[in-house]
């Protein structure tokens, strides 16, 4: 699914360069539930941005679904994001003036799905996260946990190959965060590949594999016990 070979990334900082990723080698297979752990400044967000085609790498190789990612123009990147990736952000990133169902159907609009099918698919996925009754509410009328569930439905609606979740519980209290993680586990149980970025140990422990990152390098990569659904 994902293969990184000696991946480097640095950002210009005045006259110097800040070397953020110093040679990452990582392979993630289809159906895995992986967390990338690290404190702030470890390079985990940069890694996520590169994996999510929101940013480009300087050196090394990146294969997404056996496709080598290089010299990507904006249009191609947009197409690949739409086709292969679903994002879940810490701050939800819902469009404030669109209702829950409109937010969920937006990626389908960019995929070129017609309006009727968009509506139906969006409702199906809202049903999956238990928010059908809230379909016509604006984000401002939803709780934090509900917003993140809408965001998850939006990430899933295009049936991507990979879900990239950037601190999905970061803005939520522990109980709500737990609910969100449960939804992610449920999706994983259905066969979805999920990559979670977090700095919280107990969130990482709920995944099947923990990759620890420190100062732009992978320090450990361990399998955890197979996750069993609580319910």
């Amino acid at each position: 699914m994902i293969k990184l070979i000696d991946l480097h990334k640095s950002y210009p900082m005045g006259k110097d360069f800040l070397h953020v990723l110093k040679g990452i080698n990582l392979e993630i297979n289809e159906g895995e539930f992986v967390s990338i752990m690290g404190s702030s400044g470890s390079g985990k967000s940069t890694l996520l941005n590169i994996l999510g085609l929101l940013d480009t790498h300087d050196k090394g190789e990146y294969f997404l679904n056996d496709l080598k990612i290089e010299k990507l123009d904006e249009k191609k990147a947009a197409m690949l994001r739409n086709k292969f990736l679903g994002f879940v952000f810490q701050s939800f990133n819902l469009i404030s003036y669109k209702t829950a169902v409109e937010n969920v159907s937006l990626p389908l609009y960019y995929k070129g799905v017609n309006r009727k099918d968009r509506q139906k698919l969006a409702m199906d996925y809202l049903d999956k996260v238990g928010l059908v009754d809230w379909a016509n509410h604006l984000p401002s009328e939803l709780s934090g946990g509900q917003k993140q569930r809408v965001a998850i439905a939006r990430a899933l609606v295009t049936q991507p190959k990979l879900i990239l979740a950037d601190e999905p519980t970061g803005a939520l209290d522990s109980v709500t965060g737990e609910q969100v993680m449960e939804i992610l586990r449920g999706i994983h149980a259905d066969g979805m590949t999920i990559l979670v970025i977090t700095h919280e140990e107990d969130i990482a422990e709920q995944t099947e594999r923990i990759v620890r990152l420190k100062d732009g390098l992978i320090t450990s990569d361990e399998k955890v016990k197979k996750v069993v659904l609580n319910s």
């Binding site: 999510g52 940013d55 249009k75 994001r81 701050s91 990133n93 469009i95 003036y97 960019y110």
Partner: protein, 409 residues
């Protein structure tokens, strides 16, 4: 091209951001409104100018005799020059091929009496060509003809207002009117676009007048129009030729400006139309300036809109929006708002102009209006302005990196 989903997106965006949409639309509507009203006023000014100078034929030339200001050819200065029929004949003989119409003029004050009504009016003794020189419009009966001149008939053609004042509701044509104690038959009534004063005039055959008043062959003035084919340069030459011929005949110094004077309308018309055109140009300049101010206004608002929506656009990109779709989203909204608002401004302006009508005629503005081609041009300008105003911010929006946009709060 017509993408119903994008329109939905745009209407949603407009609906959720009423204030900024209103502000942007208002700026454009005001710009177009001012542009159109100014342009219409400019047209009104030109209309009035045209009316001022179109009373007389534009190719008219007037020849006056005065007193000499210089001694010349054995004569003292301050000698009075008097034109006679032979002067008219000389001009006709020498320059007849360049002349369209020609007529002498003798001015007389006449006391007009019919039944119990009486009044003092100006009479002008003329030849038949004069009808075309003065653009006299005969409404009843006929104008003076060559037969009247030859037979020195006591006929009169009276103005509309003379008929109104002296005849009240009676039919004037065919009656006999008393002019300075002599009976003349009224053969026609005329109207003139030159205003009330022109319609208080009475035309008489020149030969009759010469016979009745002192039996001379003197004339006061010669009016003529040149053949339009000779153009303005030809007209200038004709004026100087006629002046030279007459000065030689009457022994007037070549540089004497007051002995014989020739005035031509075309010089006036040219100068005044140029003046009106310059005014129109200034008005147009101000109008376009206003339009650009409006465009910059909407450009500003679109920059702000893009800034405000940076995060939203970032989200859209993360979800798979291409740069092109972002550009069109912003551009189409901008063009839509600009066109609609501009059109409203245009409509209001046209309405205002038609309401003004002729109420500003005291300020030299007559029938201010814009024609269809101006309206179409303004509409095209609007769409272009909307596109330009939206394009730069849209391009910027499309180039925002999604990570940067998502990082904003």
């Amino acid at each position: 091209m017509f993408d119903i989903d994008r329109w939905r997106e745009i209407f949603q965006s407009i609906g959720k951001n009423k204030l900024r949409t209103f502000l942007g639309a208002f700026t454009v509507a005001l710009g177009i409104f001012i542009f159109t009203v100014l342009f219409g006023m400019g047209n009104g000014l030109k209309n009035q100018f045209e009316e001022f100078f179109m009373d007389d034929a534009t190719n008219a030339i007037f020849i006056y005799a005065g007193r000499t200001s210089k001694p010349y050819g054995g004569f003292k200065e301050n000698r009075r020059i008097i034109f006679k029929n032979e002067d008219l004949a000389l001009i006709e003989k020498e320059y007849g091929d360049k002349i369209e119409y020609i007529s002498p003029r003798i001015y007389k004050n006449v006391n007009v009496r019919y039944k119990n009504e009486a009044g003092s009016y100006n009479a002008t003794a003329v030849m038949p060509d004069h009808q075309f020189l003065e653009k006299t419009i005969i409404t009843k009966g006929r104008y003076i003809n060559n037969d009247d001149i030859k037979n020195k008939r006591r006929y009169a053609v009276i103005g509309r207002l003379v008929e109104e004042d002296i005849y009240r509701n009676e039919e004037a044509v065919g009656t006999f009117v008393n002019l300075n104690g002599m009976a003349y038959m009224v053969i026609g009534v005329f109207e003139d676009a030159g205003g009330d004063n022109e319609e208080r005039r009475i035309y008489l055959p020149v030969s009759t007048t010469q016979l009745i008043y002192k039996n001379t062959d003197e004339i006061d003035q010669i009016n003529l129009t040149y053949q339009l084919e000779i153009g303005i340069p030809g007209a200038r030459k004709l004026v100087s030729d006629i002046t030279r011929t007459l000065k030689e005949k009457h022994s007037v110094a070549r540089d004497d400006q007051s002995g014989i004077r020739v005035r031509s309308v075309f010089e006036n018309v040219e100068a005044n139309m140029q003046f009106a055109n310059v005014l129109q140009l200034i008005v147009l300049f101000i109008g376009i300036g206003t339009l650009f101010a409006g465009a910059i206004g909407i450009g500003n608002i679109m920059v702000f809109v893009v800034k405000e929506r940076t995060k939203e656009l970032g989200i859209r990109k993360a979800l798979g929006a291409t740069p092109k779709s972002i550009v069109w989203l912003i551009l189409q909204e901008s063009i839509f708002i600009t066109s609609l608002a501009g059109y409203i401004g245009l409509l209001i302006a046209v309405l205002v102009l038609s309401r003004i009508g002729n109420s500003l005629q005291d300020y030299f503005i007559k029938e201010p209006q814009v024609n269809m081609s101006t309206v179409i041009t303004a509409t095209i300008i609007l769409v272009v302005v909307g596109a330009i105003a939206g394009f730069i911010p849209a391009k910027r929006a499309a180039s925002i990196k999604p990570i940067v946009a998502l990082g904003e709060d």
